[in-house]
Structures are given as structure tokens and as C-alpha cells.
Symmetry: C2
Subunit: 349 residues, 2 copies
Amino acid sequence: MRLAVIPGDGIGPEVVTEALKVLAEVTPAASDLDITNYDLGAARWHSTGELLPESVIGELRQHDAILLGAVGDPSVPSGILERGLLLRLRFELDHHVNLRPARLYPGVQGPLATQSEIDMVVVREGTEGPYAGNGGILRKDTEHEIATEVSLNTAFGIKRVVADAFARAQQRPRKHVTLVHKTNVLEHAGSLWSRVVEEASMRHPDVTVDYLHVDAATIHLVTDPSRFDVVVTDNLFGDIITDIAAAVTGGIGLAASGNLDVTRANPSMFEPVHGSAPDIAGQGAADPTATVLSLSLLLDHLGHTEAARRIEASVAFDLATRDHSSPGATQAIGDRLAALVSSNTRHEV
Amino acid sequence: MRLAVIPGDGIGPEVVTEALKVLAEVTPAASDLDITNYDLGAARWHSTGELLPESVIGELRQHDAILLGAVGDPSVPSGILERGLLLRLRFELDHHVNLRPARLYPGVQGPLATQSEIDMVVVREGTEGPYAGNGGILRKDTEHEIATEVSLNTAFGIKRVVADAFARAQQRPRKHVTLVHKTNVLEHAGSLWSRVVEEASMRHPDVTVDYLHVDAATIHLVTDPSRFDVVVTDNLFGDIITDIAAAVTGGIGLAASGNLDVTRANPSMFEPVHGSAPDIAGQGAADPTATVLSLSLLLDHLGHTEAARRIEASVAFDLATRDHSSPGATQAIGDRLAALVSSNTRHEV
Ligand SMILES: CC(C)[C@H](C(=O)O)[C@@H](O)C(=O)O
Ligand SMILES: CC(C)[C@H](C(=O)O)[C@@H](O)C(=O)O
């Protein structure tokens, strides 16, 4: 497996180190792994002004997958690294399915008073919508200033993520898809999304479908999150509801994600949902669990299903048994997870 | 006071009836009140095809304020009433400040495990952003279909709501404003919003300011909602976060809102955040509290501060003492609130 690793900024390198420790345990022989580190992020931008050189994109394309820690630093103006590096990677490598599972693991106490079973996955569109970077400013710094943001939505772009969502639903016990949008206000994009889901629904009579406006969806995520199975939604709504889904399942410290090119023309990229957390960087205080779970998604995507399951079961076991008031330092958690993964006993929860 | 009332659809007429009962109690003489009912909503659309005739808009403008129950019915295609009636009213009457307080009243058990004090108000922009209705569809029903939605943001439109947010913050003990946006992705609109808030902040050194990306804001609303005081945000982000704010303070059954033209050139409109709830319509099962609280906002806006306070205190007293497992029927709650309001004793909580 040729793996590109982008440790990034802040706690990124720390959590990636632990994930690679876990990866070593599920890899039969060290020679099976070919890891290349890519130094991208705040430091590189400061020293060279580079965010993501063309040559690096070319090299990344030669890999089977990418593992990313986190990018972002207060020393860099907001948006520079996000748009120039993170979003650029997603767009250049056609990561149209932004996959974000949210599961409330046994032992994890979420913020809701009623603990119900939460096991959902959000299929967030990743390459268009309001993230297209389309818009502008007219008459800047005058009283007549106007700023626009254009959400671009294509049948091509929506069909492929909706197809992915239905395919995932078919593999799950509840076989349910919820479209989240704001069709009553955003009528054009809403109409296109609705029609695409309707067509897919006709082709998948075994999958049940419902629709929620994004505002109502956020309420349900707080009052009745167990109702969700597979959610399919646009780039911006997906950004928002996956953060709430993460919050109600124990926080973004546990939330994993995959940026998938499901056609496999480009390597997919896996990253924890949390950011670079500069406030706790360098202290060994970050929880690497989200990155380890992202590694599990990576292995699953590459067909190493057994290894992916083993990692997920180890995380589940650790979460069920860890002292959540003092889960340990980054390295201690990584060591624990690596040991669990390597032990011959399978830890199912 | 010349009051226009739009009972609307579903539970709308039921909750409005109770609010008017409460209004009668705070009105010194019946002759002080001049109420006109406007029959707008699903029924009118079905029988005449009309949503909001020009003549009705003209009449509405002659009033001091508008009280709206709810619009929407499953028999009407989604979006028709929302865009043709509700949003049209907000846009025609220049309701630029969409005011949505969220307070966790004593006695109300929200969905969060940790009950902290929540007392925030969202100043949601109401007349532009992604709600501008600007966009279109190209090559409909072909594989090359494209749909756009254009978010329009003006210095004029943003400055006035930001000014309102700062003015409100100055009246509150914590004097804090949080801008919620997604400046790292929506760079043009984000830049304009940020600059306007920065300028306002310079003019209001007594008000502290911070910024949250919308996704992070939703996490904080679930994990630490007491951090919020005044939130200022765009139309779509405001739609989403006010529903979460309502959810964590006991649900949209209690959430009030005002659609304000702060210049007072047009009448402002007050409505519960909840919808027409067709599933429980006609059963006397709806809670009129959100509408009564909206009436309190209405009276406050018109300068009847004392009456507004009396209503809010009565609601607070009722919520602190009611049996939340069986709060009573619509009419019983209305009667209770009317009695509390009319009693000479002031009920402060
Ligand atoms: C950092 C930011 C650009 C990014 C996004 O908005 O997608 C993040 O919030 C995420 O969800 O991965
Ligand atoms: C019904 C809908 C158009 C409306 C909105 O999006 O503003 C509603 O959700 C609200 O918040 O008042």
C-alpha cells in the first residue's frame, strides 16, 4: 500500500503518529507499507509561500490513499489553508463523497440527557454547492458594497453521491435514506436534489426515503438522533449537520471522515473531523481516536475490510472500558489501541 | 393599536386565538385595539390561487404590527406558501431584523444532560443572503442539468442588522456579540460580514465580540449554549442555529420570533418559530406559548414595555409551575396565561 501522509499543523502530527502505530499492527509485513510524508500546511506556507504545489498534487495521485492530520494555524489568515490546501485537495482529487459516520459508542456519554442508540452515516457532497468558490465583491469598502456566493449544483455531481448513499443504505439493517436540504427556500438546487433522490428511490424499492429541511434536521439531531440511518446532503448542510452529529456522539474528538473519489481515479483522503487545535498542540493532550477511526475508513475503502473491522472493534473496546474523565495522553491512547489491535483476541462490542 | 392578524394554516388559528385572549388582558380598553383578520394561507390559495395580493400588502402596511400564526399545509406543494407568502411578507415589509430570543425558562427540561443557564438572542438577517431567491436551472431534466443559488449580501443590509445586534448587546448584562458565518469557505460574503462587524466593534468598545464558524457554533449550542449572548448572522445560518437554539431551550413549541423593520417604515411581524403542524391541527393540542411570547415581542417593539414584561413574566411563571408531562390543551394554557396576566400580582421568576 502506497500511503501519502500529510501530518499538517497543530495536533495533526501527534494524532497521525498514533494512527500510523496502529496501522503497523494491522500490516502483515513492514514491506507491505510504503509511506511518504508530505510537508504541507502553515509552516510550509510561511517559509515558501506554497500551499499545494502542482508537483505535489501529481505525486499524491500516485498513492493509494492519503491520511491527513489537520491543517490550520492562527498565524495564517483564516481561509488561506482551508481553501488553498484542504478544499483544493478535495476538489483536485475529486473527493465527491465526504463520508462521515456518527456512532455513539457504548461507554461514551454524549451531551444529550436521553442516551439512545445513534448509528448514522452522512454522505456529504464534497466538490460543489456553496463550496464552489464562486462569487465576488463589487464596490469593496464603499457603502454600496455587494458580495455574492454562488452555489453550483449539477445533476452529475448530485447523482453520484445520491447513488453512493443508496448503495450504503442497502448494506445497512435499516436501509433508510434521509435527504437534508432547504428545498422550500433554495428552490432551484432543492428541486434538482429532490428529483435526483426521487429517481434513485424508484431504482431502490428496498430503501425507504424521507426528507427534512436542514433546520428541522438539526432539531431531530438533538432530540431524536436515533431516527437517522444514511443522510445525503449538500456540501454546506453536510458541514453543519456532521458537526452536530459529532457533538451528540461524544464530540469531534471521536469523529472520523473520508473524502472519497468513489470512481477510484484519484486517491481518497481520510482525516479526523476536528481541526489542528493549536491551543493544545505539542502537549500530547489530543485524542488520536478520530484519526485512528479515519484510518479504519481508509482500510475499508481499500478493501482491507478485516483490518478495518479490527481497528473499529479495538476503538469500541477502548471507549467502552476507558476512564473518560482521564482518557490518557495522545501516546498512551495510541499505545492502547495498537495493543488491542495487535492482540489476537478480537474485541467486539 | 391597529393589529393585523394572519391566523394562517393548521394550528395557526388555534394559537393565535389564545394570544389574542392574552392581548385583551393587557389592553386597558377594548377600544384601544383595532384588529383585522387576514385570510391568507393554504385555503385561500386553493380557492382563489392567491398568495398575497398587492391590495392586501397595501392594507397590511396601514397597521402597527402583524401577528402571524403559521402557514403551510401538506396539500400545497412545498415552497409555494413559504416563498409566496411568508418570505414575501418579510421581503415586502423589509423585515431585516429577524429577532429570535432563546431562553431556557426555569422548570423547562431541555434535551441536554447539563442544564446551564441559556439566555441568548439571535439577530438573523431577514431580507437577503441565500434567501434572495436568486438562481436558476439550466438544461432541466437532462444529465447536464445545473442549478444555482446566489447568496446576495450588501453592506447596506448587513450594517443595519449588525447595528441592531450591537445596540441590543449594549442593553444586556454581558454585552457580548458573536458573529456566526463560514468566512473560511464563503470568502466574499464572509469578508463583508467580518469587516462590518469589525467596524461596529470599534464604535462599541463596551461590547465584546467573537466569531464562530457556523459548524462550530452548532457544536457550542449543544455542548455549551450558555456562552452565547447576542448572535448576529446571515439569513440561512440564522434559520439553522435558531432551530438548534430553540431545541436546546425546550423546543420550537416555546420559540418566539419577530420580523422587524427597525426603521418602522413598515409594520413588523411576529410569529412563533414553529410551523402549522398539520398533524395535530384542530385537536386543541398545540401549545400557544410561543405565540404568546411572540405577542410579548410585538408589544415590546411598539413600546408597550410594561405589558410585554407582564406577559413574559406570566409565561415564565406558568412554565415554572406547569406539569410539563401534561401541560394542558391549547385553550387551557391560553386561559391560564390570560389569568396570570390579568391578575394584579406581578409574577416574576
Ligand atoms: C476547515 C473547513 C474548510 C472544513 C469544511 O468546511 O469542510 C471543515 O469544517 C470540515 O468539515 O472538514
Ligand atoms: C418556513 C421557512 C421559509 C422559514 C425560514 O426558512 O425562514 C422557517 O424555517 C423559519 O425559520 O421561519
